[in-house]
């Protein structure tokens, strides 16, 4: 139970699940930071991305192509949702959130109609085979790859946000929408772009995650729950918070599943409850 190999294995499980959670939560938290809406269709975007990724990977056997196609397809879906629906209720907190619920319903039901109800996973041909071997510890390369992708995406997001002009515009949009509009930036398109990027991140998570968790009806609620817990702990709108929250929840979840499986569902909510009681805006969230 406390052998080093076992502990290392669980820690890696936690980190790889945390990596997946980060891919999910970062899109959600970025959209929230800028637009102040919680996109409850995010889980549905993950699911759609996962299904599309699996289909492309099965036909071509190429994971990179699968990820790109699924990101583009889900990005276009998100663009339609943004321009066709969300723009009409911009700035009204509740209607925006409720609209995303309606979108979640529709996407999840259409996925069931198109892809059927059987759980689907990434085919072995597109996945990375083999396992890493360090002493007595063996660990699948694919999960190491998931961690690497999340770290790369996290570093890329942080660099874009702090070093580029696009990042500067986004940060300015978070701080003061009126001033950035007055300076000639069309903030409405920045919102749209961010919504599409967030959805594409969810699709990337879905494609890569389908090698770890199978995609099935109802997965949209499960992943949404984890992503919400992560961003509540980390603080809405903070990339750093999403990273810390994702690793924390990933590790807690892995060790709880190994040690106290009956209560594993509970354990991720204990830290959330503590954070809510002592710091209602999350670890890295700003006070409104």
């Amino acid at each position: 139970m406390f052998e080093p190999v076992f502990l290392a294995q669980q820690a890696l499980n936690g980190l790889s699940f945390g990596a997946l959670l980060f891919l999910l939560a970062s899109g959600l938290t970025l959209v929230f930071g800028l637009q102040r809406i919680v996109n409850l269709a995010h889980g549905a975007f993950y699911m759609l991305g996962g299904y599309i990724g699996i289909i492309i990977a099965t036909t071509t056997g190429n994971l990179l192509l699968a990820a790109i196609v699924s990101m583009i397809a889900v990005g276009v879906t998100a663009l339609v949702v943004e321009l066709g629906l969300l723009r009409f209720v911009r700035g009204q907190e509740m209607p925006e959130v409720l609209l995303t619920i309606g979108v979640m319903f529709i996407i999840a039901d259409l996925c069931l109609a198109i892809f059927g109800g059987d759980p689907k996973t990434l085919p072995a041909s597109a996945s990375i085979q083999g396992a890493m071997q360090i002493g007595a510890l063996t660990y699948p390369w694919y999960r190491i790859f998931v961690i690497a992708v999340a770290v790369a995406i996290g570093i890329a997001l942080a660099l874009i946000q702090s070093k580029t002009r696009v990042g500067a515009v986004v940060r300015a949009g978070v701080d003061d929408r009126e001033i950035i509009s007055a300076m000639g930036v069309n903030i409405s398109w920045v919102f749209t772009g961010m919504f599409v990027v967030g959805a594409a991140l969810a699709a990337l998570g879905g494609t890569i995650g389908s090698g770890v968790l199978s995609i099935r009806p109802g997965i949209q609620n499960d992943v949404l729950l984890y992503a919400l817990v992560v961003i509540i702990i980390g603080g809405l709108g903070s990339i750093k918070g999403a990273a810390v929250g994702a690793v924390l929840i990933g590790l807690i979840d892995a060790f709880a599943k190994a040690w106290i499986p009956e209560f594993a569902y509970f354990t991720i909510f204990a830290p959330m409850a503590l954070v809510l009681v002592f710091r209602p805006t999350g670890l890295f969230g700003r006070t409104a």
Partner: protein, 336 residues
């Protein structure tokens, strides 16, 4: 104004006369049973409506509160307890779960409130699913009997109508009380109410307890209706449908929950026989309602009636003070 109010009272009475008369209008057993389903859903939707309309707190966890009360009754029935004990355990479980919700959510507002209730609801679902020694896991608990005097379907239906009437009136009284006014004050501006000396979390706690207690009662009614409870009754999906009912009917209106519950239950039970993709249909109806009929069917009808009335009596000034008090519909103030 008095004429409008008496018109409302007459309409209100007419709805209930119709509800009471429903089993005697030559309706089939299935229709009466469906009507019970609608009314139980309407009671639940009314509790969500109270919190969201007066308190500005949109809950995504009420389905799970009702389910936990239903599990209380189911467990009592499994242990072979009497009906009294069944009621006590159902309400007790429901109220304890409600307290957990209320304590976790009383310091939050807006989106955070929504997410906390969503998360706690999912915990209830997880418990219902995995704590199989108590809940019998995925199979659920079957064969839960209702009290003798409600055994007949029509008797149960009339009991549900009386319950709905009592809940509607009780929530109306709470909403019109100074407490309700304080709650609306918090909805409109929390910071102002705080600086006026109100202790905001206490108001939210009490409001949630009222709403959750009635939701537990609705859970007990539903288990008496179907004799069955399973984890799917605690799914997020159920709570989302409650929000859909409230928005479709009209947030903050007295009769909105009944109208919304009728539409949703009919789509779910009747339309689903002919249209396989009914969740898509429901999603589309919901999206269209938010885009085009923000104040719901009852709210929009009331607005239309008001416009027609105003046209008839041009003497009245356009800025009727009565209009100002009921304009803010949803949590329109994110930063406050």
């Amino acid at each position: 104004m008095t004429r409008v109010r008496s018109l409302n009272v007459v309409g209100f009475a007419a709805v209930f006369v119709l509800l009471f008369a429903f089993p005697y209008l030559g309706t089939s057993g299935y229709q009466v049973s469906l009507a019970s389903t609608v009314l139980i859903a309407a009671i639940l939707a009314a509790t969500v409506n109270f919190l969201a309309g007066d308190g500005g707190m949109a809950s995504l966890g009420h389905g799970a509160i009702a389910a936990s009360a239903a599990y209380g009754a189911g467990w009592a029935s499994l242990q072979g307890h009497s009906v009294t004990m069944q009621v006590v355990l159902a309400m007790g479980t429901g109220i304890v779960v409600t307290l957990a919700y209320a304590l976790l959510s009383m310091r939050t507002n807006g989106i955070y409130f929504l997410m906390v209730t969503l998360a706690v609801g999912m915990v209830v679902y997880g418990l219902a699913y995995r704590l199989s020694s108590v809940t019998r896991g995925e199979n659920g608990i079957t064969g839960i009997q209702r009290p003798e005097f409600l055994a007949e379907p029509w008797a149960f239906y009339l009991f549900v109508v009386v319950s709905f009437l009592a809940v509607t009136l009780a929530l109306l009284v709470v909403s019109r009380s100074p407490f309700g006014a304080g709650l609306r004050g918090i909805r409109d501006s929390e910071s102002r109410m705080r600086s006026l000396g109100y202790y905001v979390p206490a108001f939210k706690l009490v409001a949630f307890m009222i709403s959750g207690t009635i939701a537990s009662y609705a859970g007990l009614l539903s288990v008496w209706h179907t004799h069955f409870v399973s984890p799917s009754s605690a799914e997020v999906h159920r709570s989302v449908l409650l929000i859909v009912m409230v928005i479709l009917g009209g947030l903050g209106t007295t009769m909105g929950p009944l109208v919304g519950a009728t539409i949703v239950v009919l789509v779910e039970n009747v339309l689903s026989n002919s249209v396989e993709r009914w969740p898509t249909v429901l999603g589309l109806i919901f999206v269209l309602a938010i885009l085009f009929a923000r104040s719901g069917l009852v709210g929009s009808a009331a607005k239309l009636a008001k416009r027609l009335r105003d046209r008839k009596s041009p003497g009245r000034p356009p800025g009727d003070p009565g209009q100002l008090t009921d304009t803010p519909v949803s949590g329109a103030n994110p930063s406050a």
